[in-house]
Symmetry: C2
Subunit: 181 residues, 2 copies
């Protein structure tokens, strides 16, 4: 940030009064810019024991498979964001069953949150964001073609819990770049 | 936002290509501003079965009691943010035991996330942000003087789980303004 979004003046990078971090501060109108981590919300969409995956039609990781997920938007809850992304990326209507995984990725200032969700019916389709959408059995997961580490971890947690017959809430941290795995 | 933070030009409020929401877009440098919900991270700091609360020394809700919590910052994980806020607001060093509650407040574009945490020792103090810091037994909670609905809900969840003898993960939504309750 070089210019104040409120008044257009050039900003200074300083520690605001009472704060302990350097932030863009406007010397003209006193605007302080707070840049905070973003939430990515998505689902593990389940249908008859299979997981719905989307083949990415957009960068990053174009051509790789992902769970449907994306940036949570203002005015929605975490589960509403997860279901909106599921609809946008896979054309499917799902129902959230429980929050399942929450993965911090401090290097890129993101927190990825996935819900266990169920599809009401076998109804999904390619979308602008997904060149292909398909159900995978737990022994059919395309591990080498998954788009992001948070997706890999979440599916691993799911399979482990499935084998135990009990689904918990899983928290983890990824310290490397998700895009390059 | 009226001015582009990258180039200082006035922005237009339009739906960017491939998007479906109105955002500030710069006609000069093509910068798009994405404003997303923020995560507030905090703890239920426990010591010998009591909960540490902080009496707010800052607005909003100055003078009311709260669990220590605040905006998650870039470059940290959710639990690191929760422990940093606990230290900043109460002067106490805690250890996160588990993620406990996650409360969406869509009206103010926030998600509040609280961890169960334990204090290693009986060591806390007033801070710039807290005029008073004290331990409360579960039958001593100052319900009518709690600062935020998310704090009230989280302590209610805690007491219910405590009575069951098993601590889960709780998700909820608050549809009204937390400040005015």
């Amino acid at each position: 940030m070089r210019y104040c979004p409120q008044c257009g003046h050039t900003v200074n990078m300083v520690i605001p009064a009472g704060d302990n971090r350097i932030r863009p501060v406007c010397p003209s109108c006193d605007y302080i810019d707070y840049d905070n981590p973003r939430l990515i919300t998505g689902t593990i969409p389940l249908y008859k024991g299979k997981i719905l995956l989307c083949r990415r039609n957009i960068e990053p990781r174009l051509g790789f498979w992902t769970l449907p997920a994306g940036f949570m938007e203002n005015q929605e809850t975490t589960s509403e964001g997860a279901l909106r992304e599921t609809l946008e990326e896979s054309g499917s209507v799902a129902i959230c069953k429980q929050a399942f995984s929450m993965i911090s990725i401090p290097r890129i200032n993101q927190v990825h949150l996935f819900y266990l969700a169920e599809l009401e019916k076998d109804d999904f389709r390619p979308t602008e964001e997904s060149s292909e959408v398909a159900l995978f059995g737990l022994d059919e997961i395309p591990w080498d073609e998954l788009a992001f580490s948070s997706v890999t971890k979440t599916i691993e947690f799911f399979i482990a819990d499935h084998e135990k017959g009990r689904y918990g809430f899983h928290e983890d941290t990824i310290h490397f770049n998700t895009v390059s795995k």
